[in-house]
Amino acid sequence: MAELCIAGQQIEFCWPSQSQPTLRIPELSIRTGERILLRGPSGSGKSTLLSLLAGVNQPTSGTLTILGTELHRLNQRRRDKFRADHIGYIFQQFNLLPYLSVYRNVLLACDFSAARKQKLAAENLSPEAECERLLTHLNIPKELWRRQAATLSVGQQQRVAVARALIGKPELIIADEPTSALDTDARDNFLSLLQDECQSANITLVFVTHDATLSHHFDRTIELTEINQTGVSA
């Protein structure tokens, strides 16, 4: 368990249009299989950190190693591929392409990643079978599978998003306030389903929220204001 999923040293990030760095994190380490709550008020650089973790942006300086890969050594295209293969990303809302069916939305993750398909094939699973298993497990009624994603409730859509993030067992799931649009019951239900899946597949989870009350669901809470040293100016 000592293996690190995310390891960062002296990470600094500055948006091109700004003079002050948005992030300055001396050290960040998250072990494989850990379920982390990343907490911070809005404006604390959460989204920026997530874009670094997902490999959409790269640190201005410092190193960020994810799953043993130094992301800054990869070019744009390979970082996109890396994300497709190893990272499941869940947005606050509007995770699904409204014009595709629920089913197609989930399979989309496999369309963009040969590695996910291979991983399923290694377990003798077809993407379709895994998709059905996940949707069933996430309590999406079967009659909704062929419906257009836009016709589902917000809670259902978020659970479908989880299925898409999980299909093909990526090593890391990043969830950006996925429960902010849900009521308490739906939120707890969502969290326990997500936790279950991550646990059973040994997936590292980085769950971002501004809601401190969720911390008891997680192994560890990282306060962004504590690790981000630009807080001086904030």
Binding site: A84, Q92, L97, A109, D111
Partner: protein
């Protein structure tokens, strides 16, 4: 291919915009190809209308005008050629054959050409192709031969009766009810103005117009009789023509083939005198003709023969070489053709700009979609490709619909174009040039779509995974 399916699904979710864009492109493509097709076929049709005739001779007028009425049966001769002059050139040693034609009448808008049966023997179109009969044979007296289009449209066949009217409009001033002609033959389709023509004998035309009757003809008696009733019927509607008639009369020409009316009945007397004077050996079938076609013994001599005719002292004449005048006519029309092409190019540009506007407008609502695709691993290049392929799909479908519209329009309008302008627009296969034009449209759409695609690319880099609503 998965990406392509994605683009397609995305497009279908924005059906209304997509359909409007496709429609705009389809219409511009239809125009672009239609203009090209009509001018191509007009050009081909032009070149094919007449061949094998070395000279066309008419009264002094512009060469294009002479070509238009003698070959295309459009418009009227300003003056006629007397039979004597025709005979003089018909017997010229350089002339191998000559065929007189007299115009001016019509049947339900189809021009009537009075000529001699030799017309069917000497007239050539396209690559020296002669006229052939689907059924029947050349006309004799009181008979008529009809072109393919006429036969089809008026439902005529050998043995049918045909009533010839005066004037060239669809609504004629007067119908020669008393002279029904019997169809003796139907010509095979040529794709030239011949298809719209009705051919009768010169003599019949003259009699219809109140010319005198040849006394030695065995039908004489009958005709005399008919003629009287004809003159009697003329009371109505012929006042319009009296000005024109007087004018012609002052010129002292013999009988104009298309003048007409009850004044003739008064003049019959004088006419008879006049024609008797002109009767040298044989009585002319008609006092004057509109033009005559000439085939020479030696083709290279055409230019000399043309000069000789143009400088003929006894009567002002114009001789044209059909090929050269066809080219001249085409040149006058090509300006129009260019103008049409420019207009249709601008219509196409408008269609493409419309697509650009639609794509740019859709980018804002599609930012979420882009962010989702980025999150699951789509690179900015994938986003770029997605937008470009969407535009190319829209254009490709637009082109296909445009071609379908074009063929639909041609199918619906071709008969009308043919009967109104004598231009045969066929439903032929798509030509190389048309493929080329379609290719240009597709390439243009590709480049134009790079603008929104580039913007989406920049957006997806700048936005990262954050969704900015």
């Amino acid at each position: 291919m998965k990406l392509f399916r994605l683009a397609l699904a995305s497009l279908l979710s924005r059906k209304t915009n997509a359909l409007l864009t496709i429609f705009a492109i389809a219409i511009s493509v239809m125009l672009l190809l239609g203009v090209e097709r009509v001018s191509q076929q007009t050009r081909a049709g032009f070149a094919n209308t007449i061949s094998g005739t070395d000279l066309i001779v008419g009264a002094r007028s512009g060469s294009v005008n002479l070509l238009l009425y003698s070959v295309f049966h459009i418009g009227n001769p300003t003056a006629n050629v007397s039979w004597q002059t025709y005979e003089r050139f018909a017997n010229h040693p350089q002339v191998a054959w000559s065929v007189p034609i007299a115009l001016g009448d019509s049947v339900r808008g189809f021009p009537v050409i009075a000529t001699e049966p030799a017309y069917f023997e000497h007239f050539r179109f396209a690559q020296q192709q002669p006229l052939t009969f689907v059924e029947g044979q050349p006309f004799a007296r009181e008979q008529a031969v009809v072109g393919a289009q006429v036969a089809q449209q008026l439902g005529l066949q050998v043995g049918s009766e045909l009533v010839v009217a005066h004037g060239t409009g669809s609504v004629s001033f007067h119908e020669h009810d008393d002279h029904p002609l019997i169809i003796s033959g139907v010509l095979a389709r040529t794709g030239t103005p011949v298809d719209q023509a009705i051919f009768i004998s010169l003599r019949d035309l003259d009699i219809m117009h109140g010319g005198d009757h040849d006394h030695d003809h065995d039908h004489d008696h009958e005709h005399e009789h008919e003629h009287e009733s004809h003159a009697g019927n003329d009371e109505h509607g012929h006042m319009h023509q009296s000005d024109e008639h007087n004018h012609e009369h002052q010129h002292g020409h013999t009988h104009q083939n298309h003048d007409h009316g009850h004044e003739h009945s008064h003049q019959n007397h004088e006419h008879e005198h006049a024609s008797h004077e002109h009767e040298h050996v044989v009585q002319p079938p008609i006092p004057s003709i509109s033009a005559f076609l000439v085939g020479l013994q030696s083709r290279p001599r055409a230019i000399f023969m043309q000069r000789e005719i143009n400088t003929y002292r006894d009567e002002p004449l114009t001789a044209i070489m059909p090929g050269a005048t066809l080219q001249e006519l085409w040149r006058t029309l090509s300006g129009f053709e260019t103008a049409l092409s420019i207009v249709s190019a601008f219509v196409l540009l408008t269609g493409l700009i419309g697509m650009l506007a639609t794509l740019l407008a859709s980018l804002r609502e599609r930012r979420r979609e882009m962010a989702v695709l980025r999150a699951i691993g789509a690179g900015p290049k994938t986003i770029f490709t997605l937008l470009v392929s969407e535009a190319v799909v829209l254009t490709a479908v637009g082109i296909a619909v445009g071609v379908a519209l074009l063929y639909g329009m041609v199918a619906v309008l071709a008969p009308w174009i043919q009967s109104s302008f004598g231009v045969v627009v066929s439903l032929g296969a798509i030509s190389t040039e048309e493929w080329q034009r379609m290719g240009i449209v597709l390439v243009a759409s590709f480049f134009i779509s790079c603008i929104p695609a580039w913007r989406a690319y920049r957006n997806s880099l700048a936005d990262g995974l954050s969704m900015r609503f």
